[in-house]
Symmetry: C4
Subunit: 378 residues, 4 copies
């Protein structure tokens, strides 16, 4: 008898296993529209920077805002624990690999200082852009009102896996319906990967959903917990939940694929799989504007007893402008990400990202093994 007779194991796909199929119509890239709407805000580009201390400090957030994008600050990160967060960042970046995780654990054990919230949010908004902060469910009730009072525009609630129903010892946990009612700003929630959990979260009234458990370069959830769903399948599933919820409610809740994208090709696949935007960490850590000088680490790296993330070195090899808009001489898809999205939309005949959701994808062998026998010349 087949194993599947005992229990179904459905296949799930990551970026390396799929490819986008060109369309029967093509469009000039310059005619494409890549805007992304979240609540009342519209961003010029569908790329967000993740709430990593290695990427988003107030200065970086302001730079992203100037370019029409959005960078999220980690409300439980170093910026909100230290007067001089850059010193803490430097301590991490200069640590040996063996001690890095322990140093990160120590630095994130310092207390959160509420008086820093207004200062950092103010600095991030200096460029005139939209300001977003991210917080775990456990601290949201306490910190969200303070952040909103300090002028935050978008509030992100984020943990490894977030659901609308959480069982804990506390008498009354975070209830998203209440949060959305109580604070006046759009609430973005994550991370999630399944239809049922995603749809339940949308039904609480949130404004957007982050997709992805386990895929990022800094994340080791698969090794530590065995938990994770490859990003293409996770995005397809949450996109299906979004579309189903839209049919039922008339409300469109955009979804943002978060983690695991290394180049323009991966980003295009996430969008073709159904994402309205993507959130990147390691890619932004490669820019001169990022504070951690080419290293990165995850939000779960600081967990006191069971860290699930590593410090990685990505190097500094680009600027925010070249990364997003080019022009570039790099041929590996690591610069001009917006240009890549537009060109992909062109060959798929999509004038909007919504139309790109209709592109066909195939399960394809990894590009690492397909037709690449010759070495680059030196």
């Amino acid at each position: 008898m087949s194993i599947s007779a005992y229990r179904e194991l459905r296949p799930a796909y990551g970026f390396d296993e799929v490819a986008i199929v060109p369309g029967s119509v093509t469009v000039n890239p310059e005619l494409t529209n890549v805007r992304f709407a979240l609540g009342e805000f519209t961003f010029e580009i569908p790329i967000l920077a993740a709430a990593l201390d290695s990427v988003t400090d107030p200065g970086f957030a302001a730079e992203m805002g100037r370019r029409g994008g959005l960078a999220v600050m980690n409300l439980e990160g170093l910026q909100f624990r230290y007067d001089d967060p850059q010193a803490a960042i430097t301590e991490i970046t200069q640590a040996g690999q063996d001690e890095a995780a322990a140093i990160i654990q120590k630095l994130y054990a310092a207390p959160l200082r509420e008086e820093l919230i207004g200062r950092r949010i103010g600095a991030a908004k200096e460029g005139g852009g939209v300001c977003a902060v991210s917080c775990t469910p456990a601290n949201t009730k306490r910190l969200a009102p303070i952040a909103v009072d300090a002028g935050v525009d978008i509030f992100v609630v984020q943990s490894t896996v977030t659901t609308a129903r959480h069982i804990s010892r506390s008498l009354r946990g975070l209830i998203f319906e209440e949060l959305c009612e109580n604070i006046r700003v759009p609430v973005l929630v994550g991370n999630t990967v399944t239809f049922a959990a995603g749809k339940e979260l949308m039904e609480t009234g949130i404004s957007g959903l982050l997709v992805g458990v386990g895929p990022g370069a800094i994340c080791t959830s698969r090794e530590v917990l065995g938990v994770g769903v490859p990003q293409v399948s996770a995005t397809i599933e949450i996109a299906a939940a979004r579309d189903q919820y839209y049919r039922e409610s008339g409300r469109y809740v955009p979804i943002i694929t978060d983690g695991g994208m290394r180049n323009g090709g991966d980003i295009c696949k996430a969008l073709a799989a159904g994402a309205d935007a993507v959130m990147l960490g390691s890619a932004f850590a490669r820019t001169e504007e990022a504070p951690a000088k080419g290293t990165s680490w995850g939000m779960s790296t600081g967990h006191a007893e069971l860290p699930r993330g590593t410090r990685i070195t990505v190097g500094v090899d680009t600027t925010l402008d070249r990364l997003l808009f080019g022009p570039t001489s790099k041929t590996d898809g690591t610069e001009n990400l917006v240009g890549a999205i537009r060109t992909c939309m062109g060959v798929c005949g999509a004038q909007t990202i919504g139309e790109l959701h209709e592109a066909e994808m195939v399960v394809a062998p990894s590009i690492k093994t397909e037709g690449k026998v010759y070495q680059l010349s030196r």
Copy 2:
């Protein structure tokens, strides 16, 4: 015509091919219950140490007992052949790789000494814990009564593949029904990987079943014999047999996935696949408490004519406490295994291991190729 028209080859999955999908409800890890019941015994943790001479000597068994777990001694191992087994262990650990297999063959050719049985069992029980020994079917009739008289609490009958029906020249082989009736202690039998063989064994009255043929780090059954079933599929199948037998008989026979798990993620996958507990070898060989100082070898490595196992070096990089309970700064899932199980149960919304059996799993590309392009910094 399709090959499958000629003969069905059903797919089977190992740890690297699957991932656990988070649930629609989440639970605080501290609310989870990870206990494991076997016969009349209840253990605080669902992790057993394998009957390897590189792992379980009487001292190690006592230490596991103090922590609420169970370590099995090899009743045909060096402890029961030598007055000074540590000298034999040292001879193995210090051998060159080329001669290691031959030295192991030589050392395991020494006679079993029944007078040592009581001595080792007594030492193992000094910590007040439960004592278990493992024996091959061929020696079980002779040695089981002696071990039970010496106070052993659980008797394990184990060979590469064990079935309820074995054809041999001897007039009358081992009959599990008789064994279970004759000795007063729970009988744990293994290894097995198929529904039919597993259910037949349960019907003999045994108290538990070991799952796994061929997967461990020290095992070369796949190379030598071509035989083996990847652990996730084997566990799913034996779990289905357990559930079917429970429906028919009302008796719940717990199953223990044995071999091939390298980190918390693999353990969580085995439990999500249906295991009630797991048995580890190489992981325990990494502890300071293990007698072989960071090397390990298998029970079949000593086979005189066709050894099916190698001596491997795993190094000593942890303690029993850190391995099981943390806290840890390691981010690769190799410490705080119980914490990993609890956290996995949390994101799956499972309060017991029985509920974790309901978690969904997907077939997913290996984490080795998914999103890991950046190197660790040095």
Copy 3:
């Protein structure tokens, strides 16, 4: 619920994933016919050289013609921008890998010089062979008439993805029906990979179709755009479109698989998948006759803002004669490509390439992992 319930991801195969199954009848290779017909032309061999400046200059085109084949010149390449194109080629081949892409971008920014068109076409036809040039859709309206007046025999319109319907700002883009009517020579169009797009192109009256998006050694479309379909599946699909169009119209439009083939085995698989001929780039770059001395780069490598191709080093290790016809002592399929096609046809019982289309193929594990455990001796 299965992912496929949300969205279908069909499997697609490249050369490494498939193998050809021998037939129930075999044929002596000397009895096979490998001719390829395009429009009114018939070529002795079903192998074309790609429109790469690293491969086809007028001299190379003449040499291919002498051997009964066809080499296409890039009408927007260095030959048509410089009086001394070899100097530009040398500048590229001698650049360091880091600067190569930028130098290529600079050299291809020089203006196209219409007065060179006649000169190059004349030189290419000196051998008496058939002359073909390739042009992007954007420049086709302007340059095609000039090339035809200069004596070109076959006109190729080629971009990453070409469709019969393209949306652009210009009032009136390239319309293939008009092009085919206006110029008197066969029009070959590419590249395409899907049934619908391929059939629509055939319906415009073109004479042949190039198959392949993303597979070549010099192409990085998969990394940059996420776009591409593995060549075996792409060829199967376009062949189905060709056969369907033939049933409907009675007109047979040959298809040419372009890119990603590294040896005789890959070429045979393309033909068995349904191709009437193949187009090679990197393989020809390995010949002494090619102008770039063992390096190669793609048509998209010169893109000013988002290059999608790399310069690769293939080395010079053969001649045009040995590559195509042998004899050879190489055992890896990189020489005597026509001999390989004939031998493959023999074991498949195919006397024509059309009969080879009927050969069965299986999805098979990569030869890299199948039975190759021993190293070559040194």
Copy 4:
């Protein structure tokens, strides 16, 4: 639409993709019967040595006969072209890798000398064993009668792909019905991989069939021609043809899987897939008794214009006795192959090879990626 809607590509499996599932009954290995019957001959072991000059010279054939096995001599090999074939062998083994193929081509261009046939066959039969020679279809009509007159016991007709119907220029090719009638010895034919071709060959009256196109360590048919079927699927298919032919005719034609097996595990998989015996090349080349001192090359390596095989170095690391019967201290399945077959039969509950055909197999991830994270100690 799915690719499979355009054309079916069925999956095919090699040794690395499958594993044997243990049975519900087990048998003591000493009770197993591994005999192999071919025509009127019965061999004690189901392992044949291939017709490679690197393996089977008359002395080796005699040694195999003494051990109850069969080694086939290449009737078009060096033994039948040179008075001193060992000198030619030495020339090959001492050549540099770059020139090896060319030297092999040169040495195999020497004429076949019919007067050597009797001498070699006589020497091979000195041990009292059964003598077999292998010949290509083109030379069979001329050489088979001579060999039979010289006392050969079994005649093998072998080419890359052999079918019952071959189209050639010669008025009248080899007809197997006639060959079987004309010579008095069993005819073994190969190689073949498909149901239809295999069944047609059986219907000509032959006594046995060799299975396998493309899998061996020395074979590069997949690279050169794209042709090949992985051995497990090929064996399953030919076994189905054998069983179907047996049901129709009452005549059992044994099949021999030839090529690609590297260890006991692979051999056991071939037998479980349906083979009655296996033919090995590289494994025997590793013995002290083989004439080429640890190198090997294929029958097609000497092809004058399109060689499809390489010279490989396997090293000399065993003897014929240890290879076949052990005992061994090697734990990787490369010695005691007969012991491995018996042990595999034991865990599958098979007392004969015919019963082993009933063993279940699963598609399983490669052992290379399953559970092998620790390095061997040094």
